[in-house]
Amino acid sequence: MSTYVGDAANAPKFQTAAKALVNDTQVRHNVRHATSVIRQKRAKVVGEMADWEQLRESGHEIKQHVMRHLDFYLDQFEKTCTAAGGQVHWARDADEANSIIVGLVKAQQAKEVIKVKTMTSDEIRLNAALEAAGITPYETDLADLIVQLGEDKPSHIVVPALHRNRMEIRRIFLDKMNLPELSDTPEDLAAAARVYLREKFLRVPVAISGANFAIAETGSVCVVESEGNGRMCVSLPRVLISLIGIEKVIPTFQDLEVYLQTLPRSATGERMNPYNSIWTGITPDDGPQEFHVVLLDNGRTKVLADREARETLDCIRCGACLNACPVYRQTGGHAYGSVYGGPIGAILTPQLQSMAHSQTLPYASSLCGACYEVCPVKINIPEILVHLRNTVVERGDAPFVEKMAMKAAAYVLESPEHLARARKFGRMAQSPFAKNGVISHLPGGLDAWTAVRDLPAIPEESFREWWLKREREAG
């Protein structure tokens, strides 16, 4: 049994991965274009809401309340869902969730499953587990299909293939769907996906979904989507399995009135997404006649235990922080080495792994605060980033140069005498590097700083020195 987040434990440092990616002009262009379009659409539909701040506030407060009483609401959800005919399973970690789901599919003697976009399934590497058991998973969200057929990784939590352009998608579809010809217009590419998946929707007997919301009061599950693949998966097959992170539970059906306003506007810039499916257990003569929920911990209770970072779990996965982030917009999602990229990924990924991996992610930010500003549930991502940086340092995992620099700074700033001596020494030491009052290149490990910015040189005379001189002269 083990807790993991995709392949994040084996991913290179953010800085290393980012360096390579910012040189890929095609990816940068694709990411910039896509995020710019969503940002504009979001700004327009958020701007028309006079009560946006009140909705954010309520969304935040509801989630904070849930986290304080998570045991109660999960227990209540289990009871109501079970009473409606659902079967609830609990998984401590990724391995356990995979083995439950593989077991459920095998019990149906099914060799194939259809999947609705679920980042949580990428988190637990469900597709690999299914394939290892001889079961073929078909991703049905268009972007997920592009990622799956392209043997690629998702780069955005809402639009996972946003790093691909139409020419690349055309090539992938031509190759993997065995099509004689195909244009690269989005209409034709979407139509190709429709034909490719339609026969699977009508035939495959088991579906796997995630969930946007699990409602404790009623035992209902809500899936938010645009294409109709979600509706297909939750209403056509004989058996439905929903993999749900324990943080996705909300107290009442009425709480949807907040999130169904903030989520679509934040995620895709729509007043309402084309489709929401809400179902409660099993309905005779309509849809799946066997319904399983797998409630997943996989590190979430560790996040819950950290009071200063707990609100990470409030996330409703809208992706607005990715689109707003100046770092994400330069590097794209792959630099984060996790299925969860961007600002939310930078705080979620290391925490889910008990801060033992992905320690460079809290540094993948300029702390500009754009993510906090757009977050529909007001997660203070910059504050949590700083908190996690502190955790990294306390664990002794900070980079050597940074540790030495911080130690030196602590000594220098300890007393006025230390500072005066350091200034004198600094003036001598900087002379080979300073030019016109600016240092543009430092030696050794310090060049990481000056590679992208100038450092003001220590002036010939400091304020303190000037003041002392003035006092003496006044005499």
């Binding site: 045991d71 401590r92 639009v159 509706r231 056509l236 179902w279 003569d285 911990d297 209770t301 819950l304």
Partner: protein, 210 residues
Amino acid sequence: MNSARDEILERIRDATGGATEGRQAEYAAIPRNYQRAGTLDVAGKLELFVDRLDDYGATVYHAREHDVAACVAEALRARGKASLLVPRDLPRAWLPEGFNFFREGPSYHEVDASEGVLTDCAVAIASTGTIVLRHSAGEARRALSLIPDYHLCVVFAAQVVETVPQGIEQMKAFVHIPITTIAGPSATADIEMTRVKGVHGPRALDVILA
């Protein structure tokens, strides 16, 4: 007892301190200062609803004196269709002469081969152009309004509310029946953020406002 269940709940109680007291009062005290009630009169509300449907590219037919059948005929002629699937309990009076209507019941593949589907709805939300289907009686099981490529939906003016909270309030009454909310035709922007109408759900949605 499921040990994973107990262990997860235990981890949660360790993390939160297991606070149980005052939960209900705490929930009731959550601030909800967002807009709940509508501000428009009936005409303004319907105008907003139609504007939102236009925005999604749905064609809206206005039924005169509740003559739904005439609108159904008009919509079918405009789309060049000769037949539609209809739910079991859909009023016969809505079905015009000169077209074929099949009552629900066929297999998925037969539904897939159909020209489209005609349903009613339970609630509609003007501010977001959302139509709410309660999957029973006149809205049929979920497959029927999903698999066909064309969905023609009848919305009565009295079913239209202005705000999302008002819509959710109505939906509470039938939460144990599967619910689908629809805001325009199936769509994707997964390719270069270019909006494409119609991926897996109906590629065309028309609305009869009666």
